[in-house]
Amino acid sequence: MQYDLIIVGGGPGGAMAARCAARDGMNVLLVERMKAGKINRFCSRDLRLGAGGFSSDTIPTDVKLKRVTVTIEVGSHHHRIHLHGLPPDAIIDYRGELNPVFNETLVSPSGRAFSRDPSDRDIEGFVVDKEQLMIGLLAEAHAAGCVIRDGTRCVSIDDSADGVQVRVTSDAGDEVLSARRAIVADGSFSTLVDQLGFNEGRSPGRGRIKFMNLVLDRVKFPFPEFRRVRFCLPSLHNGIVNMGPWPPGLFQISTSASVANDVNLQSILTTFTTNSPFSELFAGAKVVAKQACNMDLRPPIREAARGNVMCIGDNAAFAEVAIKGAIGCGYMAAKFSKEALDGRDGNAAYNDYWQHAFNFFSPQYNRRADGVKKITEALTDAETDDLIGWVEDRGFTGLPNDVVLKHREQLEQDLPAVCEKLLPREIDRGDRQAVA
């Protein structure tokens, strides 16, 4: 039997694509290698509202970006997530919890701090129950006629003029499934993208990083309002330790490192919680769960739709797609897959959407992201205290790169040694620019 569309991956992107495609009358199969609706790997539960980026809030002017923003209709148990920039049939029903996030704050070893937003009272996003979100989408996809097979891993996809042959393996053994088209939504650590040839010409960028996340209860949260907290402790780790709320009613701390460096993430997080300036926050805390993942920090794939296949979400870019981006991609991939089946150039339409929906396609944005060295890599503990204290004393707010770039003249005057370390004349950060 041949499907119209096979979707690989039951995360937010794949689940949204499945729902849209099924509701549009396509004969759809979704395969998911783990248990449907269950997240094993570490991934963020942030549903951000605005169009803001991860490393800079400055709106790029070099590319005409049409980024998806989110608003939420909040009910007593039942919320509706609206994606602006997409038609009304993209609205999602969500029945999980909403944990408001009010800001994002960078903290120095001695506790100096500055935030992204001047106000601690505006909601910038929510930490959501991502599994509930996915379960809801998958249920709607199923109700609309999508066949869902979990415990089924896609090994490879052959794409030809006749359609796609999707090789899967499960408890039932190995099978080859046929479809006219495929949407590949297998996440930040994809094997299929490589197997399909989408990595040809794509620079390795900054390479592979590994993440570990600890879910904790009974943390003494260091601020009255929930937010993303980003701790800098260069003497312990050359990366940031992130902390935030985590459903249901818990907290997470996580960090990452390049796989090239043999860094022991478990020992970093253990030391952070038991033997660092911040340990007292964790005095009564217990680890409830651990999660991990890898990510390839390669530049985005520009032509993410080719032949009969569309690669969507984290597998086509590094981490900044986020939940709302994945849902937007899933929606558009389904719509444009249908157009392709109806004889129109769905691939061109999808690629056009993809290339204008995210900051990371703007060379200007990438220059701002790469233009300042990472604080935890470049500075000592004392210098970090000086820098963050300087920002706090002057009342500057914003993302670190934006603050440093905006006030560089003042920084050069007040903290010349720190400025030189963060903004050296030559920076080699690897190539984040998108390639075809």
Binding site: N40, R41, K210, M212, Q266, C293, N294
Partner: protein, 92 residues
């Protein structure tokens, strides 16, 4: 020695696709290394790739009960990669 995955495995899939011999697969609870396919990356890398990419630090360990010589591992690599030239590094 062969490599073994412990209960500290977090099922994140980082190692599965990186294994040059496709020796790692999902087990019922944690990932599993097939010791008949593992060459400890002799033939491919300077040190085991799975250990390199694994975020969980204690999830992959050396199996002291299964010690194999470098020659044995290299021969196995050759059978798994017919026609290819192994990448060799100084023995430790």
């Amino acid at each position: 020695m062969a490599l073994r995955i412990t209960d500290d495995c977090l099922n994140c899939f980082a190692c599965i696709s990186d294994c040059p011999n496709a020796a790692i697969s999902e087990g019922p609870v944690i990932h599993v290394i097939d010791s008949n396919l593992c060459t400890e990356c002799v033939g491919s890398y300077e040190s085991p790739r799975c250990i390199k990419v694994c975020p969980a630090d204690t999830a992959i360990e050396w199996d002291a009960e299964r010690v194999e010589s470098r020659d044995t591992l290299l021969a196995r690599w050759g059978k798994l990669h017919p026609g290819e030239t192994p990448a060799l590094f100084d023995s430790k």
